[in-house]
């Protein structure tokens, strides 16, 4: 090949790099390792983990059952090793799957259109706010304090340089958005009111009421959904103008925080202000139905500095996993999964409330996460639980100093009754220890 090119050595091919910048020594990297050694290395790392522990963590990342069929499909090379489907004639598999994903997301959220996809729920929420700013041409954003704290942090990072003014609206005694504060804060300069439902404390918000409040001042309502399974049983946020969803619950492993899949769903009239990829139905010149990436005039590769977003690479394979997973569950499977979450979480709360000194913190309705107040610090309880191989609920004072001794408990269909009972008895012990005189 060198001779065909007309050079003497590989080195000659790099002659355009100035000599002083060319590495003459090998990089100091571990390896090369064979396949067996690579597996060994990662198996060693996998031992330094939570395997063998029961977890009551949720807070935006949920343990749900996943069918092996999902992983079987997404590991097909035709899906796994293909690029963004710009060449529609040889990408119909990906394009039709995206179209099905968009449809499923619309059905779940009660919205008209959904994109495929955003990086995760946090960036989807941020992009939803930026979209609201474009639609309303307003600059103030009222964000529920009960929105996932890490989502709020991402929004603040993006807002800082785009001239957005982000203000927090506190939660009331029942855990939902404090509507009195909202009423006094909202004005004709507000682009969006942003809430999560179920919110970070697990409490379901009154979407219709909040939408009325926002719309009365010309603001949009943005609803973030971190736990998609809730939509199998909880009324969808149809009154919202934009829904920003995290789809991790639909067949994606926790994977230490990613890759997941974000989605933006909205009304048809806002579609041209949406960020991200959209697949649309089309016909070829023989009249056959096919699918194609469409409305690209919103996107960075066409519009450059005037694009609706800078997103290019998204989370397509994760969107495919969600599509397969939801298709497997179907209408009944999703409903049953949601009912199991509801039942188990309510069972767990009932049992925990029997422990002296443990009480439910917020009276608002909840799905599979709820907040309890403990008679001592959550960290100290969790330290004892950890000895029994239980990863206890999230200590909320990590994010909310005002919620000392408050814990966010998550129970899904994967949590067994025995595991719930173990948690309760260990909490009972931990709390009792604290009560003994020293």
């Amino acid at each position: 090949m060198l001779a065909a090119i007309g050079v003497k050595s590989i080195d000659d091919l790099f002659s355009s790099i100035p000599e002083r910048f060319r590495l003459r020594e090998a990089l100091k990297l571990p390896g090369p390792y064979s396949e067996a050694e690579i597996i060994q290395y990662f198996k060693e790392r996998a031992k330094e983990s939570s395997v063998g522990y029961t977890s009551f963590l949720g807070a935006g990342v949920y343990n749900h059952l996943r069918s092996v069929v999902t992983d079987t499909i997404i590991q097909r090379g035709e899906f796994l090793t293909s690029y963004t489907p710009y060449q529609a004639e040889i990408s119909q598999g990906t394009l039709q799957a995206i179209f099905e994903f968009q449809t499923l997301m619309c059905q779940l959220t009660g919205q008209d259109v959904a994109n495929a996809s955003m990086w995760d729920g946090s960036t989807a929420t941020t992009e939803a706010v930026l979209m609201a700013e474009r639609i309303t041409r307003r600059r103030r954003v009222l964000v529920a304090r009960s929105l996932h704290p890490e989502y709020r942090e991402v929004l603040e990072t993006y807002a800082r340089n785009s001239g957005l003014q982000v203000e927090q609206i506190p939660f009331g005694p029942d855990g939902t958005l404090n509507q009195t504060t909202l009423d006094s804060a909202i004005g004709d300069d507000v682009a969006a009111v942003v809430v999560q439902s179920p919110n970070f404390f697990g409490v379901i918000e009154s979407i219709a009421t909040l939408a009325d409040r926002a719309h009365s001042r010309g603001a949009l309502l943005v609803v973030a959904v971190t736990e998609g399974v809730s939509l199998g049983l909880v009324r969808p946020p149809v009154e919202a103008d934009i829904v920003a969803m995290e789809g991790q619950s639909f067949g994606l492993a926790p994977s230490y925080g990613g890759p997941f899949v974000g989605v933006i769903a909205t009304h048809e009239k806002f579609v041209r202000q949406m960020p991200g990829r959209l697949a649309g139905q089309a016909t070829d010149w023989g009249g056959r139905r096919g699918f194609v990436l469409t409305l690209a005039a919103r996107e960075q590769h066409i519009r450059r500095e005037k694009a609706t977003s800078n997103i290019c690479t998204n989370q397509a394979l994760c969107a495919l996993a969600a599509t397969v997973h939801l298709t497997l569950l179907g209408k009944e499977g999703l409903r049953e999964m949601a009912e199991q979450n509801l039942s188990k979480a309510h069972f767990a709360l009932g049992e925990l409330e029997k422990v002296p000194g443990v009480r439910r913190a917020f009276e608002g309705p909840f799905f599979n996460e709820f907040t309890v107040a403990l008679p001592r610090s959550v960290d100290s309880v969790n330290r004892q639980l950890l000895r029994e191989k239980i990863i206890g609920p999230l200590a909320l004072d990590t994010f909310y100093p005002e919620l000392a001794n408050h814990a966010l408990v998550c129970v899904t269909e994967t949590t067994t009754r025995a595991q719930i009972e173990d948690l309760v008895s260990e909490v009972r012990l931990a709390v009792a220890l604290a009560r003994e005189p020293r």
Partner: protein, 498 residues
């Protein structure tokens, strides 16, 4: 179809409707274990929040129907696993399957990002080792693995620059971007709060140094450069470019999309780059998956380190790793949790497989690109003649007089059993054909590609209509994109779908 096509022939694939069209009430494909606690009554428990009717329109199908549905769809895709995918600037290299296996191990895929750090040492060690490898490859000083993709890496990089300049008293107003840049660069600069000023490339496709000297003022925060450029050409005066910027207090940002031309051969940290991102889904072989997920780590020089996104991975005395949140100068968080961790795992597995041998992967990628260039030069016009690195950019100017453009040639390539190259990019080449073979292709596969391209060039002069109406062998022809955009149908509905 032409008798000369050696690489491909027609085969039967199944027709398949939308999954919603196959649905029939009561079917399902997944069972849950029985509920082991008392069932609560949803209507009572949720009250007015209850979705009594369930999700209207959701599919109801059996397991084999699901499996067949998606398997049939998959057969309509082209993929790296089928053949060469010479999509320029996308680095469509082989995706090793061992990487998929390790990312799915219990203890890796199962880990919760908010679990105690004492139980997360395995995950954190993976991140730590990947950071160390990427720093060695880039020659930079500090890294953030948080960005989810290249575009988010760009944003993170520009926010680091802004935070640093602010700490110096003035965030400045403008970011300079060459006209050959990826569209994400200007889109990102706007989100970071900067105005974009484009710089025209010179006649060799390089940054016009004299023009740059004029444009770099105290108002310029940074230049975003892709090196090698999107023409696949190394910016030979990169050190001078850096010096011009630095003399005015501006910084040099490098889009690392084309790092597959440099890994093991040259390091951006050595030639004056202050901050850059990598695309792990390009250079480090994590699967593109039909458009993602990716990861866009950002590497920087020490002076930008205090501004890194939180949390920052640090090693405590005694070797324990921890994610530190208390960083007063941080730009904040760009994504929830710890980045696209599963992608990071795959990238580390890739790096470990090569070790220092990553240099040879780079050499092979550059060799393949130059071999293709040599064999197609003259058949297709080469608008810029400086040496190619990992990709080569031709133009359709020889074929255009016959009414055959780059998109037509690309579509005809499909009939020959290849995925098209990148069309019509970079924008500075009219009718661009951007070809990136990567190191994964053998000489035999490159030869088949060259043969196909030469045959199409022949057809473009002897039978231009054949090329202009391609593809002919696919299950559908070119789609009416104009109507699709004018009257968008973006979801299936019972009433509305044909």
């Amino acid at each position: 179809m032409s008798q000369t096509i050696r690489n491909a022939s027609r085969h039967v694939s199944r027709n398949e409707g939308l999954i919603f069209e196959k649905s029939s009430p009561g079917k399902r494909a997944f069972d849950l274990p029985p509920l082991d606690v008392p069932a609560v009554e949803p209507a009572t428990t949720l009250g007015r929040n209850h979705r009594a009717e369930g999700v209207t329109g959701f599919p109801e199908v059996s397991e084999i129907e699901v499996l067949r549905h998606f398997t049939r769809l998959s057969t309509w895709n082209y993929a790296i696993d089928i053949g060469m995918y010479p999509l320029g600037s996308c680095t469509m290299k082989y995706n090793p399957r061992v990487n998929e296996l390790v990312a799915r191990l219990d203890g890796i895929a199962t880990e919760h990002p908010l679990q105690p750090q004492s139980l997360s040492q395995g995950c954190l060690k993976i991140m730590r080792l990947l950071e160390q490898c990427l720093l060695e490859i880039t020659g930079m000083d500090a890294l953030s693995l948080q960005p989810a993709a290249g575009a988010q890496g760009e944003l993170t990089g520009l926010l680091l620059i802004r935070a640093y300049l602010e700490s110096q008293g003035n965030a400045r107003r403008k970011v300079l971007i060459p006209d050959s840049a990826h569209g994400t660069n200007p889109a990102t600069a706007v989100i970071a709060g900067y105005e974009v000023e484009n710089i025209k490339s010179n006649s060799e496709g390089q940054v016009d140094i004299e023009k740059l000297r004029e444009l770099v003022t105290e108002d310029v925060a940074a230049l975003m450069i892709t090196n090698p450029s999107t023409l696949g050409i190394f910016e030979q005066r990169i050190a001078e470019i850096a010096a011009i910027l630095h003399a005015k207090g501006a910084l040099l940002y490098m889009d690392g999309a084309n790092m597959n031309a440099l890994a093991g051969v040259a390091r951006p940290g050595d030639f004056g780059v202050d901050v850059m991102h990598l695309n792990l889904h390009k250079t480090f072989s994590t699967p593109h998956g039909g458009g993602g997920p990716g990861a866009g780590p950002v590497a920087m020089k020490t002076f930008l380190e205090p501004f890194r996104p939180i949390p920052v991975l640090v090693e405590k005395a005694g070797g324990e790793l921890t994610l530190e949140h208390d960083r007063p100068y941080s730009i904040g968080r760009v994504k929830a949790f710890s980045g696209n961790f599963g992608v990071l795992v795959r990238a580390l597995a890739y790096t470990l497989a090569y070790g220092p041998g990553i240099r040879q992967a780079t050499e092979d990628a550059v060799l393949n690109a130059n071999y293709i260039r040599k064999n197609l030069e003259g058949v297709f016009a080469l608008p810029y003649s400086l040496p190619s690195m990992h990709e080569v950019v031709f133009s359709d100017s020889i074929q255009k007089p016959n009414g055959v453009g780059t998109m037509d040639i690309a579509k005809r390539l499909i009939d020959y059993g290849f995925h098209p190259y990148t069309t019509a990019f970079p924008l500075i080449v009219s009718g661009a054909l951007m070809i990136e073979p990567t190191e994964s292709e053998s000489k035999e596969e490159c030869d088949l590609f060259i043969e196909a391209m030469r045959a199409i060039a022949g057809e473009a002069s002897s039978e231009p209509g054949l090329v202009a109406h391609a593809p002919h062998a696919t299950r559908i022809g070119r789609l009416d994109e104009v109507t699709a955009a004018r009257k968008p149908r973006l979801r299936w509905s019972k009433e509305g779908s044909s």
